[in-house]
Symmetry: C2
Subunit: 117 residues, 2 copies
Amino acid sequence: MREMQTDPLTTTFAALADPTRRAILNRLSRGEATVLELAEPFEISLPAISRHLKVLEQAGLISRGREAQWRPCRIETPALERVDGWVGHYRKLWDSRFDRMDSYIASLTKGTPDAEQ
Amino acid sequence: MREMQTDPLTTTFAALADPTRRAILNRLSRGEATVLELAEPFEISLPAISRHLKVLEQAGLISRGREAQWRPCRIETPALERVDGWVGHYRKLWDSRFDRMDSYIASLTKGTPDAEQ
């Protein structure tokens, strides 16, 4: 029930709020991998890795092959693109801050006290 | 204890995994606001808004003025810039996908399998 009411961005951010899951995504950004390959660098159990993969899959951040034995994991970008789009809305806040700093520095080097605001 | 072991990115993603908190950030991206102003568009209690603000503040996404009465909230960008940097690492995944699509379309329209340019 709760699952259905949660918007995609909330599900994605919740899935990303874990360093192990972000490390798994990082590994998958270099190519497909099996659960065993993904588990190797971590000192946690296979069932724990599987739980993390399930969270990532439910958030649409990864998909898994259908071959029963291997089921290779693959990174999926649409959820990440949504995060990119979301944070992009705020990018102007620090861009404009740097723009202001640029014009301030320019006004200093010119020695003219440029029209303040 | 748990708080101290959590890395900044995890804290930030956890704070962003809530539509009300993201709506508050969106409002603050247009300028400072008091708790009362922030609460106005939401059908939730002031204490609930205050709890959301505390989560955002602990994640470094907002700061609050020290004047006891008003304590205006202000958006802080470093945590968002960290999210931007993190997702930026993955941007090449969909950029390269579009690049590949571009060269495929180019090869189709030219009728040659190899791109000259």
